[in-house]
């Protein structure tokens, strides 16, 4: 049997394999490095970084749910400047492929972030987290409407320059995710990241109040995998040429394969890393084995396979 071509491409950039960390689930990378060599996975996607330092929300910030969890971190982070000075150089030095996730409270902020990334070397792509509340529009999430989604992507594209691939990360909490995908594709993204967390809530029946300090939170983990597969399948069906970074409840090579068959070109591992720090590494190995077992010589042949011949 010939060796597996396990590499994948998003825009102009190639990654040695399709398993990435998910934004916000690998902190700055160093925390996981004790458990496996980060260079073993396709890329580290950083937590979403904002212009200014953010304290984030009060605790409790999490609640476990059946086969999943809610989180409400509130995008705690050091702000883009400290981030670029402190976190990125370490990753670059380790020769880890880095995808920087950015988040803004206004269209302008996304532009500012993109401009700051312009000059940074060693970055492989920018993931634009548009599932953030737009403070200029009653806190409505950008990703919920085509027009605000487009505005953000255009601001990023104008400011980022060069070849850096732009990946738009969409929210599943919309009536028609294909419509949002179409909007950002038309605005010029090179790839999509599907899906961000679902909006959820847990009420503590002891205190009889919402469990999270922020009341609502984002639902992630295996519980949401069927929603992720559906979103990826629908979007790949409509736009087969746009690479998708799939995520949502992937905890094994089998799960990663499911998302790839649905149409993902790469797969991010989030919540699973909380239960198993080596999750991304294990999943990469399991996936390679599964692909080979099924007779694939090239990852590309598996991408979107579930669409063919039905």
């Amino acid at each position: 049997m010939s060796a597996l071509d396990f590499s994948t491409k998003i825009g102009s950039k190639r990654f040695s394999n399709p398993i990435f960390t998910a934004s916000g689930c690998a902190s700055s990378g160093q925390e996981l490095a004790q458990f496996f060599p980060l260079t073993e996975i396709g890329a580290v996607v950083t937590k979403s970084i904002m212009v200014k330092a953010r304290t984030g929300r009060a605790t409790p910030r999490m609640a476990e749910t059946p086969s999943g969890m809610l989180n409400s971190i509130g995008l705690q982070g050091p702000g883009i400047d400290t981030f670029l000075e402190r976190d990125i150089p370490w990753l670059v030095e380790q020769q880890v492929k880095v995808i920087v996730s950015i988040a803004g409270e206004s269209v302008d902020e996304y532009g500012v972030l993109a401009r700051r990334l312009r000059a940074v070397s060693g970055i492989s792509a920018v993931e634009v987290n548009i599932s953030c509340p737009n403070v200029e529009n009653r806190g409505q999430v950008f990703a919920c409407h085509p027009d605000t989604s487009i505005a953000v992507i255009e601001a990023v594209r104008r400011n980022i320059g060069g070849e850096l691939p732009i990946i738009a990360k969409l929210s599943p909490d919309v009536t028609d995710i294909v419509e949002i995908a179409r909007a950002v594709i038309n605005a010029g993204v090179d790839g999509l990241a599907l899906i961000n967390t679902l909006l959820g809530m847990v009420i503590d029946t002891n205190t009889m109040k919402p469990k999270l300090a922020g009341k609502t939170g984002g639902l992630s983990g295996p519980a949401i995998r069927p929603v992720a597969v559906r979103a990826i399948y629908q979007v790949h069906q409509a736009f087969p040429d746009t690479p998708i970074v799939g995520m949502g409840g992937v905890a094994s090579g089998r799960d990663a394969l499911e998302l790839i068959l649905a149409g993902a070109s790469a797969v991010s591992v989030g919540t699973a890393s909380f239960g198993n720090p080596k999750a991304a590494f294990d999943i990469k190995n399991q996936l390679a084995e599964l692909l080979t077992e099924k007779g694939f010589n090239d990852l590309r042949d598996a991408i979107g396979f579930a669409h063919r011949g039905i």
Partner: protein, 280 residues
Amino acid sequence: MSAKINQFATQMLAEVISNKKVGPYHHMVFAVGEMASHVKPGNFVAISVGGEQSSLVLRRAFAIYRALDKGPMGGSIELVVAPHGQGSRWLCQRAVGDLVDFIGPLGTAFGIPTVNANAMLIGGGYGSAPLFALAELLKNKGCRVDMVLGASTATKIYAPLEGKRSVSSLTLTTDDGSTGIHGQISEAIPRLIREFGTEVIYSCGPMGMLAAVAKIAEEFNLVHQCAVEESMACGIGVCMTCVIPVKNEDGIKMIRSCIDGPVMDGSQVIWDRKTVMDAL
């Protein structure tokens, strides 16, 4: 960043060597081999719960009660577990011979004074667990160790015989007066500090108790190291759910209790929730 994060942490399947019910708690011993040699008092382990088909996706954190580097079964780690919710109940149901998925040792350890000092160790409920290993260490350094353990009622005080060897005095308090001093543990502390000439305080237990102890430590101007307990999703620093608000030039900063804790400087923590909410 100075030290490597999670420097000594490894993941392994640990065999249950013993599981004994002690009052409302389970004292459990696990064979962990090498892992034991890296444990310091205050460290914790993160454990997978619920088995293969589990709907519980997150690990549970447990303070290490004791670690034996070279026991009869090789390295071992001992825990004191309260069967509280689904995960801890599952753990308490494990039988001798079962394998449990461990990550450890994790988190910061109690700092040891460089000179001899009179130390007071204050524990609430199963919060006493990490204090016995600390007591031994302090005693070996020549410190005076006064231990004060409190709980709502007598059975909930975890104070095994072998643990008491290292302490100069042991005071018990219960909210219901069923043993020791009647009342909340914090009420008894000021008098005991004076009596024992306490110079440094270590505490572990519910956040409310830690806050009360922190206030007393401030009044007496004593160093206070406390082991905090905040809900953790990962235990290794990647999720940012376990944060504790601490003082900072600009007001408030959220630090991870799994990496920058669980042992923290009590004087740095912002204990008052209203202050935190107002600052956010």
